[in-house]
Symmetry: C2
Subunit: 347 residues, 2 copies
């Protein structure tokens, strides 16, 4: 449930995800009357999918605290609770991000040593098959250097898991590469990073135009800057696509030229399809809430069935690899779990 | 002088800028022995260009305070001083941004009522001929809500001047459009903006993916977020260009297809040229240092002659329209100049 186009995209996503995860079982929480007819459209889907009815839902306008207090029977909360009691391996939601984080924090709890869970995803880079983990994407608008350090640890472990990079290169997002650059937060964080034991190597500052060069494996920033960065990447890609389409429609000659390109483009079909897949945000859909004692994946609210299936794929991959248990073991090994996380700070 | 490829790009930029500004006169400060042979390459350029020799320069590694103290005879400082004493209408530099701001602040002084000058540029949008003014781009890594208010005023006046928009729609960059979203700074700034007299209309929050939709005329943020945003846009555009080129080279068939597209592309030539010009960062080169009592334009350090010529064009356009005098008059009318700017805050 949740998201701009639920429950359609959720059901279609489950259907499509069967291709890559043929043994996956789904529990969908939400309005049975809406969901059941959608499930019936996909042959065999009802055999691996259970619908659990609840009329309650969290809307995109609900404040996290309100959702937490009044949404005990919402589809979002019930899905998270299924992970908390071990009935489900992971929860995937396209709903309200703030509410999802608040409920997941309450129900799944923080990992020992983590003060603030954060949202991570990976961005495409110039190197095929490589992605840069970017976090936090908006869970924590205001951060301390300790928060950023924990993001670096979680991001490093995520990079190891997803891209099998043994020693991820971890950078702090900044407005220059020189040591003196930046605000107080990055200056303080850089000092902390330089002496900390990380699952990877701290390599200094990365600028905004270096996130996708492939020179870094993890780029750490506060949730305000991270969210603006993520959305700026989306906005730029959209603008370029729009301008390119406009160019081919801008005059009769441009249209004639575009038609004459078609045979050539048909021959390039596979290359262009690969390109457009590398650029398609749906194939990067599925941001992970890291630092929780259970898997929780946030899908873009405006995605479609393909995008939602990809978010399910991220969840399935992490679940199959016992990511949560691995991270907890690593945090203990790195000495993070020794620090008790004060409960008041986690809200 | 200054920038990665000076003085070549400076001389070539002056040569190219003559096309749009045939009456412009140039003073180039720097190493005469390097500059004179370059000038000789362009017929007639020496008639509108004077070279003033100085061996000193500010390097990209100099800290602003160091440059200010030890760079009194640097090409950057001498060029700024020429504006300060009214000999030149504007200064254009591709050098060290921090040093340029520090020297310009010292030599040109702040406008009355402006605590912190800021760097502004405009980004392309979906609407041809329209640009969104984005600021601050990095002069002030840490800001107060009063700083952001002053940026909004300067940005609004800049939008009026450059795009002739009578009532610019001014937004605050944030991580959501709902009133509760964001960090303390945007929350405080939003309250201040809602009741302030602005040269335009405060329309609330803009997210990262809305900067280039054309729905806003001015997007205001602190220098840390603004710099990351600007560079993220650059990095995303570069990645897309790279991936597209790679796609057409990825296999024999892709290469054959690309060749077969050539006649069609030739027919689209004008449309594609227009597209690539709209996407080419050189044509957006030239960020303005706003809030100073003199015109100072910062060129991208890595640009070429075409990019530098564009930065000269921005400077020439603002100078011809007496932008500085207009802004000072508007600040007084809006009641900003009444507040004395404490000198300690301006450094």
């Amino acid at each position: 449930m949740g998201g701009d186009k639920a429950p359609q995209i959720v059901v279609e996503g489950a259907h499509l995800a069967r291709e890559t995860h043929p043994n996956a079982k789904f529990i969908i929480y939400g309005d049975e009357a809406q969901i059941k007819p959608l499930v019936a459209k996909y042959p065999g889907l009802e055999r691996c999918l259970e619908v659990r009815h609840t009329p309650d839902k969290v809307t995109s306008h609900d404040k996290p605290a309100h959702a937490l207090r009044h949404g005990r029977n919402s589809s979002m909360r019930l899905a998270i609770d299924a992970v908390a009691r071990g009935e489900a391996d992971c929860v995937v939601s396209a709903g309200n991000t703030g509410a999802l984080m608040a409920m997941a924090l309450f129900s799944l709890k923080r990992m020992p040593g983590i003060h603030r869970p954060a949202i991570a995803t990976y961005m495409p880079t110039k190197i095929p098959g490589h992605g840069t983990v970017l976090m936090d994407l908006g869970a924590n608008a205001e951060c301390t250097s300790q928060n950023l350090l924990e993001f670096a640890v979680l991001g490093g472990l995520f990079s190891r898991e997803i891209f099998k990079i043994a020693e991820p290169r971890i950078a702090l997002l900044n407005i220059g590469s020189e040591a003196m650059k930046g605000d107080e937060l990055v200056q303080a964080a850089s000092e902390v990073f330089a002496t900390a034991t990380l699952p990877g190597k701290y390599v200094g500052f990365a600028e905004g135009d270096e996130i996708m060069t492939g020179n870094f494996d993890v780029v750490v920033t506060d949730g305000f800057t991270g969210n603006v960065t993520l959305k700026t990447i989306e906005g730029t890609a959209k603008l370029i696509k729009h301008m390119m389409k406009e160019a081919f429609k801008s005059s009769i000659w441009a249209r004639v030229g575009a038609v004459l390109c078609l045979p050539g483009l048909a021959i390039c079909y596979h290359a262009l399809k690969k390109f457009s897949k590398r650029m398609d945000p749906r194939y990067y859909n599925g941001a992970s809430l890291l630092g929780l004692r259970g898997l929780c994946i946030k899908s873009h609210g405006g995605t479609d069935g393909i995008g939602f299936a990809n978010a399910i794929g991220v969840a399935g991959g992490l679940a199959a690899n016992k990511f949560t248990a691995k991270v907890e073991a690593e945090l203990e090994r790195l000495g993070f779990s020794a620090e008790p996380a004060p409960p008041t700070e986690g809200a």
